[in-house]
């Protein structure tokens, strides 16, 4: 069995004169959880989009379970095969769900597309169960659901194809704190049950600490620090990682000093 669910090797991507992703490499073990932390313009989202296949790298490779990901392949079968490897959950489920389609139909449609001919009743119930949605939610349309419920639907849809990797791009950033905690716990449970790997893109270091084993810190397209999450957060080596940590509001917080440190960096 291959050791890594996902590997990125020397990813490069430039937009005009901007090196959005500059020699980015990382490895996500099977059933592991890797955080990518950075601010706007750090290249974290572009990296995620390359992994998913929404963006193409100028150079570098993405490997899923040890095999190079077929990023350029066209045609229905190859697109579907690609989608079964990596699935993505976005920040705002309201924008990624069809307002006219009920929750159950969303799941059925995905299952029919990927596994035609099979009977999906049991799998739909299983998925709803897995993300903690009841039968009442199954008949609802997106606008009848709360933000947390919508994000559960998006997660269920991503899980439907049993991907090796789930890319979560700021997937809990728009949720209220009490709901965010429910979703983070849900994600932890799903990972324990399914051994799916998470690539967790976020700006929130508290969230990183809570849901990832390893973390890479990106700045201006480059990886400035990488390592086990607990270690990186406890003994940050790079000044930018230290600045990010100091910027997290807490009692006795000194925004003046952070602003000065930011200008100095």
């Amino acid at each position: 069995m291959p050791e890594y669910a996902l590997e990125a090797v020397g990813l490069q991507r430039t937009f005009g004169s901007v090196r959005a992703v500059d020699d980015v490499s990382f490895a996500l073990p099977e059933g592991g959880s890797l955080g990518i932390v950075g601010e706007s313009g750090s290249g974290k989202t572009t990296t995620a989009r390359i992994v998913v296949g929404l963006e193409q790298a100028d150079d570098g490779d993405v490997l899923v379970r040890g095999r190079a990901r077929d990023v350029r392949g066209r045609g229905r079968a190859r697109r579907l095969a690609r989608a079964r490897q990596v699935q993505m959950v976005f920040q705002d489920p309201y924008l990624s769900l069809d307002p006219r389609t009920s929750v159950e139909q969303v799941l059925r449609e995905t299952l029919r597309l990927h596994f035609p001919g099979a009977d999906h009743d049991r799998r739909v119930r299983e998925l709803l169960d897995q993300v903690g949605l009841g039968s009442r939610a199954a008949d609802a349309r997106p606008r009848q659901l709360s933000g947390g419920q919508r994000q559960r639907v998006a997660i269920a849809r991503a899980l439907a194809v049993k991907p090796a990797v789930l890319v979560l791009d700021e997937a809990v950033a728009a949720l209220d704190v009490s709901v965010q905690a429910q979703i983070l716990n849900l994600l932890a449970d799903i990972r324990a049950e399914t051994r799916i790997g998470y690539l967790f893109i976020t700006h929130d270091l508290g969230v990183v600490r809570c849901v990832t084993d390893d973390v890479i810190v990106m700045r201006q397209g480059r990886v400035v620090e990488a390592g086990p999450t607990a270690e990186v957060l406890a003994t940050p080596q790079h000044p930018y990682t230290r600045l990010l940590l100091e910027s997290v509001p807490r009692p006795g917080w000194d925004p003046e000093a952070i602003a000065a440190a930011r200008r100095a960096l």
């Binding site: 706007s40 905690a181 983070l184 716990n185 932890a188 700006h203 508290g206 807490r250 917080w253 925004p255």
Partner: protein, 331 residues
Amino acid sequence: MRPTQTPHTLDVQGLRITLPGTARPVLDGVDLHVAAGETIALVGESGSGKTLTSRSALNLLPPGAVVEGAVRVRGEDVLTMDTDQLRALRTSAVAMIFQDPRAALNPLRRIGDFLTESVTLTGTMGRADATARAAELLRAVGLNDSVLRKYPGQVSGGMLQRVMIAAALMGDPALLLADEPTTALDVTTQAEVVALLAELRERFGTGLLFVTHDLDLAAAISDRVYVMYAGRIAESGPAEALFARPRHPYTAALLASTPRLEAPQGRLAAIDGQPPDLRQELPGCPFAARCHLATEICARQAPEPQPAPGLPRHQAACHHSDRLEGSPVDA
């Protein structure tokens, strides 16, 4: 107890707002004040009524709203003002900074025009004076006056939020309403904007009502905090007291469910369920259905705010505050 000599910058008393088609008021008896030069954080989740409360200081209320209670800015009731008085209020006494500066600026007009339009349109200042003031304020927020000639699309989000702050200060307001002003910004930029707001408050003596969903940010920046839940003030008091020893189970639960750098790894103490729907009547405590301390009285009778023993400024609206005392937050 009404202060007779210097009225509060903002004084909200018993504010109750009912919207058409709802079973209960969206705001239900909100009491809140901001003293001159004070920084107050108003914390709550979506739908708690925090934005509506802050907007009431400008009498910016949704159509069809039925309003009871009083909202006074420097002693004058905002809710009974006519159009001219409201315009004067909105251009000078009270200013607002919104979450997304890009949505609040016209992308086709230069930043300089945006900064000066409110004061020149109302005749408060001549064009030249207004431009001089705008340039001065841009320097105060750490920008260069070349920004005056730029368009919103030519500057970054952090810079644009500074422009919004400068614009808010044009009319020399007594009260600044900041509705999630840093939520759309990066963490390091957030620190800069917060440092700037603190500095400006000292320099201009402006009262600040900071609306946020982030408890830790609220604790870090404010003198006092109000925590809202389902249209009511659940708890209020000095930031340190409220965080060290919350007196309302909702505050305690919010603190426990926040993923933190210092907290142990692993599962979070999530709050089960969801906030109550507006279509649902609430005879008792709005948090009762999600509260681990709730008893039969909570469903029946809405709790009144009560001061903590020996701490008159720290108030919580809970029947069981005493049972919370000393109990571990992550129970």
